[in-house]
């Protein structure tokens, strides 16, 4: 297990280097000018001399490879640089925001996994039954629904039409303190939408896995030994049916990140996603690179987690061969 982790960590180094190089290359090829973005409306009355001086100060001149190398060597010494678009050190931008994103994602993911497993098992128990047909058809419909659309729908229904939940933000508009109560109230809609967008994959995988396991020899053996249906379902069928779900948990991480990106934007949730959008549109190189590294790390860690969980749940899997 330690060797697998170590090997994956080593492999992450070239991957991260390549990904950040790609970010700098793509940003350099975009038609957007970081100086113009930085200056904003003031740039529309600025003299050429001021603009040139800004270009110098921001360090956005020269080739993108050179900029990337300067960024990389500084990042290795722990200096992530300064975000031009937010006028703050990158480390501070991330520290201020990542907690809110982690909270949103963790709550949504936990709900999706638990609810998905529950519904999946319920549907698998009687495949073709009324409950199964309802659950699977809703799951397929949700699978096709983009998270921002679900978000807008939720705002329309709960915030505008029923008026029971706030439409966005972290706390009430007139208040600047975040209390537990108002946080839960404001977290409900975005977390529910994000969970809903992840739910169908878990439901369908669990349903399929448990359904298949119910027809396998160990389950038939257990049934013939007279074990209770509950023991058979939870002890035998669910255990082997969950295997594919464990790999799914890791592979859903990228989708979770893009989902959070859209959900945070729709609900003006002050997480890392809105900073990502701003960094991209303002070609804010240091911030964009750091955020890309974070997202890549999350994906790599998700894959590693999936493999480790798989190995733990099924002793037949040899981790050393992964």
């Amino acid at each position: 297990m330690a060797r697998l982790t170590g090997r994956r960590l080593l492999a992450a180094v070239p991957v991260l280097a390549a990904v950040t190089f790609g970010v700098f290359a793509v940003a350099a090829a975009s038609p957007f000018d970081p100086v113009r973005q930085y200056a904003g409306t003031a740039g529309l009355t600025a003299s050429q001399q001021t603009l040139d001086q800004l270009r110098d100060n921001l360090g956005v001149g020269g080739s993108f490879a050179g900029r990337w190398w300067r960024w990389l060597t500084a990042a290795l010494t722990g200096d992530l640089g300064d975000s031009a678009s937010l006028r703050q050190p990158v480390a501070q931008v991330i520290a201020e925001r990542i907690g809110w994103s982690v909270l949103l994602c963790a709550v949504a993911f936990t709900v999706a996994v638990l609810l998905g497993t529950l519904l999946g098992v319920a549907a698998a128990r009687r495949q073709g039954g009324l409950l199964d047909r309802c659950v699977t058809s809703v799951a397929y419909a949700l699978e096709a629904a983009p998270p921002f659309w679900l978000g807008l729908l939720a705002i329309w229904l709960f915030a505008l039409h029923l008026g029971v939940l706030p439409a966005g933000g972290l706390s009430d508009t007139g208040s600047d303190t975040v209390t537990a109560g108002s946080l839960i109230e404001h977290l409900t809609l975005p977390a529910a939408v994000l969970a809903l967008s992840q739910l169908p994959w878990f439901v369908l995988y669990v349903r399929q896995g448990v359904g298949d396991a119910l027809h396998e020899d160990p389950v038939r053996g257990a049934r013939s030994r007279g074990l209770s249906e509950r023991t058979v379902l939870l002890g035998h069928a669910l255990r082997s049916g969950l295997l594919p779900v464990l790999t799914l948990i890791g592979s859903r991480v990228p989708e979770l990140i893009t989902g959070a990106l859209l959900v945070e934007t729709v609900f003006s949730w002050p997480g890392i996603a809105s900073a990502t959008v701003q960094a991209a549109t303002a070609t804010d190189f240091p911030l964009l690179a750091a955020l890309t590294v974070l997202a890549t790390l999350a994906v790599l860690a998700g894959n590693l987690l999936a493999d480790l969980l798989y190995g733990l749940a099924d002793p037949r899997v040899a981790l050393e061969e992964m």
Binding site: P31, R36, A42, L308
Partner: protein
Amino acid sequence: MTARTGRRAAALAAAGAVLAGAAACSAPSGGDGNGKGTDSLVVGIAQEPDTLSPLLGYGKDGNSKIFDGLLRHDAAMKLQPALARELPEVSDDGKTYTYTLRDGVRFSDGKPFTAADVVFTYETILDSKTNNPSRGELDALKSVTAKGKDTVVFTLKYPYAAFAERTVLPIASRAVAGKQDINTGAYNTKPIGTGPYTLTNWSKGEKLTFQANPRYWGGEPEVKKFTMAVIKDDDVRATRLRTGDLDGAILPPNLARTFGRDSGKKTLNAKTNDFRGVTLPTENKVTGDKAIRRALDIAVNRTAMVDKILDGAGQAAYGPVPTDSPWFAKGTERPYDLDAARKILDDAGWKPGKNGVRVKDGQQAGFTLFYPSGDKLRQEHALAFASDAKQAGIKVTVNSASWEIIEPAMKHDAVLAGGGNPADPDFDLYNLLHSSLAGDGFNNMARYANKAVDQQLEQARRTNTGSERKAAYDTVQKELRDDPGYVFLTHVDHVYVMNDSWKNVTTQVEPHDHGLGAGPWWNVEDWQRKK
């Protein structure tokens, strides 16, 4: 490790991760959770500031809630003393400005305000290492020195009559900002000023909250709590205003009209210097022709644009100076006259060709007009301009693009430009028209060159007498009528809808740039609740 302990470890790790996530988010709690009281105000704004540091350009036109300048504007845009005790003493050659500072003013952290803070603020902005995109506005300033604790002397490179208008810019605290990286330090988000309000929280992308400064030298404001919610989408802003979430908001005219019958709300139209106009590049063979320029200038139907595009919330523009400004040169209005425009073109040899487009010496009377993509207001102005030009036989091809694409094309192609600063006519006229600034960044985009205009613009800077300056700017506006470098179309009103529950709610003449200080809340510190 066995499978069982491994599972437990994994479960613990997962639980730990969730807890760590939750702990990382435990923002300070407390307070009543809902700030809506009788002494609080929540307004919706469309644009969020990049920074709250005056050293990087925040509040440069005055009215910043957290800071004060040496001077400030009153409702009529007249200069009044603020941190200075009175208006500055100007030397006879117009190159030295001396300010005496108000006694006993303290920053919100309790430190006294002195001349050193003024010197620090101006010197930092002038420093080329400071990333302040508006530095050029202090171009005239050579040096600033403190004489004792309460006198500051500004020395200029050239006589500049409008300089006092620049000293509305907010004064930062040297004790706090001086110890930080100016470009990225905490002062950008946690500013310390002398102003009527202190910033209590800035949740980026969501809102800024302010609290009344009990030690404010002008007296503690009656509106104790002031929140600016950042809501980019016009419809969402209107919806939240309707649900009572907001007390006031800036809205486009058509949305503001839907509040017309609401008795608890009132609509305020702020007059502005915010113009929309078309640049006529001198280096383009068609737009550089004086006949074409004069014909276009009277072939556009400005009144129709105000009625149709702005829903009446605006006025026809004949130059950067609005017609209701005291600086406007009466008699330079140009009424819509299509026949006269056609006659000018006929006389100049632009003969009607195929498809109604005029031709002269094989050259078609046509050019491209760019507008920044996504700007609906400029798009509508551009299309209206093109359709009016077509009536006169000039073919305008309208194109949208980002500024990155428009900038290199500006030399030859027309642009639907916008801008305007009401503080002094020099700010707009000099930058738009002086030939020395032709093609310098976004100054003088049309590369307009007119010797008489240059000379009058310089003359107006050198004189401190109001009547002489007025005469100079009158001449400039008359030259602009006879040889237009731009076709100015409209001045756009900014429209706000407010709960009708305060006294003293007014608007100032507003600039193009919507800073946080623009809007009816420009003087929120002076408001009182209606009983």
